[in-house]
């Protein structure tokens, strides 16, 4: 397995947000992590990429223990996160957002990667030199994903990519997930639209109040109405 979260417990002061959570992702898989608001999904991703240091447990990536490692070092090692609410740099142009995201890439390759992103996300090319603050939500999300892909990650983590997007843009993001999977990329995606994302995922995990309460094949989980009634609430 390329990414393994092993019994990770993460606390915010006295509050325990994750209780010995374990999950894993195999190379080439699309894995969905779903659950209600406040379940600890973002905390889990933050604990994986080193923005938060777990109180106990280990995170292993590509055979190495990466628990609490610096996020920047993890990007260089091949683990990239598209953060919740996108967090693109609004003061920087679209091109500069991508250029910066290529900071771990050799200088000669950076330009080539930027061209690839312009090809993959044609809408970005039309806004190339514009401040990223002028992008719509959907465009900004595409930039956020493009930024993460600049480092050619072995595993891509996506935190709520559809949050706040218009329905047509949600379709674009799901097409993108398909595309990433077709390219053989390894993806762990956190998503509120639980049923839909489980429908396309190879496997899924359901997180609730800091614990994994269900796991299995994506399609199987998507069919379990008991799960949605009890834990997730709607879809």
């Amino acid at each position: 397995m390329i990414l393994e979260v092993d019994e990770v417990t993460t606390r915010y002061g006295a509050l325990t947000a994750l209780h010995a959570v374990s999950l894993h992702v195999e190379a080439g898989e699309l894995v969905a992590l779903v659950g209600p608001n406040g379940a600890g999904k973002t905390t889990l991703l933050s604990s994986v990429v080193g923005l938060l240091r777990p109180a106990s447990g280990r995170v292993r990536f590509d055979g190495k223990d990466i628990t609490g490692m610096d996020p920047a070092a993890l990007v260089a090692a091949g683990l990239a996160l598209v953060p919740e609410r996108r967090r693109i740099f609004k003061d920087l142009s679209v091109a500069d957002n991508l250029r910066l995201a290529g900071t771990t890439v050799a200088k000669g390759l950076r330009k080539q990667r930027m061209d690839e992103m312009a090809e993959l996300f044609p809408v970005l090319r039309t806004k190339w030199d514009l401040s990223a603050g002028f992008l719509s939500g959907g465009q900004a999300q595409q930039l956020a994903v493009a930024r993460a892909l600049m480092s050619e990650p072995k595993v891509l983590l996506l935190d709520e990519p559809c949050l706040g997007l218009a329905p047509t843009m949600v379709d674009v993001i799901f097409d993108l997930l398909d595309h990433l999977r077709a390219q053989g990329r390894t993806v762990l995606v956190v998503e509120q639209q639980a049923q839909r994302v489980l429908g396309v995922a190879d496997r899924g995990y359901v997180l609730r109040t800091g614990s994994i309460v269900a796991e299995g094949r994506g399609a199987d989980l998507a069919d379990r109405s008991d799960l949605f009634d009890t834990y997730i609430g709607g879809s």
């Binding site: 920047a72 740099f89 920087l92 910066l100």
Partner: protein, 295 residues
């Protein structure tokens, strides 16, 4: 009119020192939400380097680069020894740390050298003036303004075109997001301290060539002005810091020339009243800076 232009040149000369310091202060605030009251100590170290080298008759052309370099090294040293340990602490902790370094620096110079000022002779060029039409222009004022403008242009180019500049801008907007893009926290912060130190070193060199003495507490007053200039411009905004610094210098000179001689000693007070009024009208400063998430 003649007076006006004369005062404007004098004011821009004085203001360029504040502006150079303020850009550094604002940059450090941007990347780590630190209001660095230790930044003025970079002027002090430059002054003692100048005193030490000039007392051995080492020429000015060799002295100035060493003085500037000493500011860069001290700035990076302070970051490494003090601020790196408290990087993720609250802004209040960072502020107190900076005060502690300022006080330690004062004490170190008092104990290590002397509490009385150490004097050195200013070079001839420092007070040389040329008559140009109706204006009496001091050469060093012109040098100050030209050097400062060159620094601002270089800073702007650095921020727009280099990867380091992009990292600084990104980290100022959202530090954690920058780390998620592969920007190394320590590297960008250390780089920001080095760059701010370079600007402070240059500001120091401009100021110190004329000042003619080094004393332990000398850095505090210009730094206070620079912090005020940075706040006037909107903390975190670099063009705001430039404008704030220049405006402060010009305001000082104009007040000094307008005030009757028995009120001259209150120049700073009058300037601060104007600033207080400005903050009532525009509490966020001249330029609006989006508050980024803290480190």
């Amino acid at each position: 009119m003649t007076d006006f232009v004369q005062n404007l040149i004098d004011g821009l000369g004085a203001g360029s020192t504040y502006a150079l310091l303020a850009v550094g202060v604002s940059m450090l605030f941007g990347v780590m939400h630190l209001v660095n009251f230790a930044h003025g100590e970079l002027l002090t170290v430059g002054a003692y380097v100048i005193y030490g080298m000039r007392s051995k008759d080492i020429p000015w052309v060799a002295t100035i680069p060493v003085a500037i370099l000493s500011a860069v090294v001290l700035s990076m040293g302070i970051e490494f020894v003090a601020f790196r340990r408290v990087r993720t602490a609250s802004a209040f902790t960072l502020l107190l740390t900076s005060f502690a370094i300022e006080i330690l620096s004062h004490a170190a110079w008092r104990i290590g050298v002397s509490s009385t000022p150490r004097r050195y002779a200013a070079p001839d060029i420092a007070f040389k003036a040329v008559q140009w039409g109706p204006f009496n222009i001091e050469v060093w004022d012109v040098v100050s303004i030209v050097v400062a403008v060159a620094c601002f242009v270089a800073t702007a180019i650095m921020l727009r075109t280099t990867m380091f500049g992009l990292s600084i801008r990104a980290a100022s907007e959202d530090f954690d997001a920058a780390r998620l893009m592969g920007v190394r926290a320590n590297r960008v912060i250390s780089g920001a301290f080095a760059f701010a130190g370079l600007l402070a070193g240059i500001a120091g060199a401009i100021w110190l060539v004329r000042r003619g003495q080094a004393d332990p507490r000398m850095g505090s007053e210009p730094l206070l002005k620079a912090v005020i200039a940075a706040i006037i411009g909107g903390l975190g905004s670099l063009q705001g810091a430039v404008i704030g610094g220049l405006a402060l210098g010009v305001a000082e000179v104009f007040f000094r020339s307008w005030l009757p001689s028995d009120l001259q000693g209150l120049t700073d007070s009058f300037v601060f009243v104007v600033i207080a009024v400005l903050f009532v009208v525009r509490p966020q400063g001249l330029f609006n800076v989006q508050t980024a998430e803290r480190v």
